[in-house]
């Protein structure tokens, strides 16, 4: 990743022509070969860019970036304020279900936040058709399968139902086996379906579990 902050003007010649008059901008040259020109605004959106693969020809004060379609970006540099290169290594990628995974970790530490008296047997208990998020034990010795979702919907109830059917046949588990769907919010439809199937529904406060917001004291 090469970062250049420079006063520059940019001309784009391709399917259309565009001109960026002289101003201070951030030029990003990424390892994938892309070049993008950013102003101090528009969030992630560059003013102009060239997707890879492209060829960068650096001459004195002028960069010529050409792609396969022979579209050209001509960057005229008047003054360079910053120029640095960094090796970022391999990126693990965006994990969109990060909240869900984190909720599972937090609840594994504090199963009593789901229901008082609940203790953790193990995380990711294998059922043969996929692991159930948390396997817990209730105060009366019953097994409790907990499926953790960010948003509790019909799918989550169906998934938990399938796991429970498997767990009920598991000879090593103390019976009965109950099921609880845990989410930050649960849709009324999912709640209804869960109630029909005798499953519990619990909503938890992610921020409170993370210790971000101080738990608001209650009267009782």
């Amino acid at each position: 990743m090469r970062l250049v902050i420079a006063r520059c003007s940019v001309d784009y010649v391709g399917r259309l022509t565009a001109h960026l008059p002289s101003a201070v901008r951030l030029l990003l040259v990424k390892a994938d070969g892309s070049v993008s020109i950013h102003a101090d605004g528009r969030a992630y959106k560059p003013l102009n860019w060239m997707s890879p693969p492209c060829v960068i020809a650096e001459a004195d004060g002028v960069w010529r970036v050409t792609n396969r379609a022979d579209e050209r970006l001509v960057i005229t540099l008047e003054e360079i304020m910053h120029d640095s290169s960094h090796d970022l290594g391999v990126d693990p990628g965006l994990r969109k279900d990060g909240v869900e995974a984190h909720l599972q970790v937090l609840l594994a530490e504090r199963p009593d936040a789901i229901r008082a008296g609940l203790t953790l047997v193990r995380r990711e208990y294998e059922t043969g058709i996929g692991p159930v998020d948390l396997l817990c034990r209730d105060t009366d010795g019953a097994s409790v399968a907990v499926e953790v979702k960010r948003k509790g919907e019909i799918d989550g109830v169906e998934q938990l139902t399938r796991y429970l059917a498997r767990l009920e046949d598991d000879p090593f588990l103390p019976h009965p086996v109950r099921g609880i769907l845990v989410a930050q919010a649960i849709t009324p439809q999912a709640r209804l379906l869960a109630a029909d199937r005798g499953l519990g529904c619990v909503t938890v406060d992610y921020d409170a579990l993370r210790g971000l917001a101080p738990a608001i004291p209650t009267l009782f």
Binding site: R191, C201, V202, T203, A213, P214, I216, P217, T218, L219, F220
Partner: protein, 385 residues
């Protein structure tokens, strides 16, 4: 079925009953989307039912031909609202209903009357109360009821009948509202407890409060033994299923006396809380600093926006700093229905103790010997550092 009604009476009755129509009609309960028009008695009865709440409203009608019809409630409500000012005539025509009003004419499909469930009958009346007073008391209490369906028992208002005393209570764990009032039971020794869904109770009490009418309250059970509460006034009656579960033993939360109280004029106080709370984030507290005859309200933190306002009040105690959720505080100030609020704290000597324990808001001084009719107990938010 054929009858003639006044336009406004019919529109009001339809609109009132239509409020109980289920919001989401599921396929097997399609008939519940209908309003039952029952012209078999001397008056016309309009009913809606969603398996939780049943609402029935009567209105005078000239019935030419007795009968019943089930028509789409939403459509009928919209049509009646838009009708011109002229008498309405409704008549069945085969599987349809024809509504005529002035020069307007609507033909509506009907649903099978036989498929409509039987409405739970109103239980035997337990007693009576003046409608406006009842609605006022309900609104004072229902404000503290929980809105979170994960704790169903807290979404109800607890109605306790003890002879001539009716006690309403609700709590969402952060505050508790209790209202006691006199009423006229049918028997002086009657006792009973019912957890009525707060929303249904508020709506019902409000709609029965007009015209200074008496409201009849009936606690009992429905045809399959489920607990029911019924409310009737004028031509309207509502029955509702009750909330399951046991209400927390709230009496022990209420202090017998408050060693330290502050007297604050409500309207400037409420205005100040509203202003200062503008800078408080969603659940952030407003901090109240009590010093002799003085109150300083503060909100906002650190580098964010901050606000501060001071008021002259009646207070004679140690310097005390206590923080509340501004929305809950305002709910309490609105509900005490007085010019001056008395805020009672748990300790007169230990300000730290007083800032941790619930404060009690009442409309009148608690030191004149008797327990105030209305009490609003509010849990403070602990301030970090």
């Amino acid at each position: 079925m054929k009858f003639r009604v006044e336009r406004d009476d019919f529109t009001d009755a339809v609109a009132w009953a239509a409020r109980t129509l289920p919001t989401r009609a599921t396929s097997q309960l399609q008939v519940l989307a209908g309003l039952m028009l029952d012209a078999t008695g001397p008056a016309l009865k309009i009913a809606a039912f969603d398996y939780e709440v049943a609402a029935q409203c009567g209105t005078a009608a000239a019935i030419a031909e007795e009968g019943r019809a089930l028509v789409s409630g939403k459509l009928l409500a919209e049509i009646t609202k838009a009708l011109p000012s002229a008498p309405i005539e409704l008549a069945t025509d085969g599987a349809r209903v024809v509504l005529t009003c002035g020069s307007a004419r609507f033909t509506l499909p009907t649903m099978s009357v036989e498929d409509y469930p039987t409405l739970p009958p109103m239980p035997a009346v337990t007693g009576h109360i003046e409608g406006t007073a009842f609605a006022g008391a309900v609104s004072q209490v229902a404000v503290a009821a929980g809105k979170d369906d994960t704790l169903p028992v807290l979404t109800g208002v607890r109605l306790e009948i003890n002879g001539e005393t009716l006690t309403l209570a609700a709590t969402d764990r952060y505050r508790l509202a209790v209202r006691r009032m006199k009423w006229r039971p049918t028997s002086e020794t009657v006792e009973g407890i019912a957890m009525v869904p707060a929303r249904t109770l508020s709506d019902t009490a409000k709609s029965l409060s007009g015209s200074g009418a008496e409201v009849a309250i009936a606690l009992g059970s429905g045809p399959s033994g489920e607990a029911l509460a019924g409310f009737a006034g004028g031509d309207k009656q509502t029955t509702t299923r009750l909330v399951d579960g046991s209400f927390p033993a709230y009496q022990r939360l209420l202090p017998d006396s408050s060693p330290l109280t502050a007297q604050i004029e409500i309207s400037p106080f409420a205005e100040a809380v509203k202003r200062v709370a503008l800078v408080a984030a969603r659940t952030a507290p407003v901090q109240l600093g009590f010093t002799a005859d003085h109150l300083v309200l503060e909100a906002g933190a650190g580098g964010e926006a901050q606000a501060r306002e001071s008021l002259s009040i009646g207070y004679d105690g140690p310097d005390l700093s206590i923080a509340f959720n501004p929305a809950y505080l305002l709910d309490g100030l609105n509900a005490v229905e007085s010019d001056v609020v008395h805020i009672g704290f748990a300790s007169a000597d230990d300000a730290e103790e007083a800032a941790k324990k619930p404060a009690i808001l009442t409309g009148k001084a608690p030191d004149d010997g008797e327990v105030p009719d209305y009490r609003y107990l509010l849990m403070p938010i602990r301030l970090s550092g």
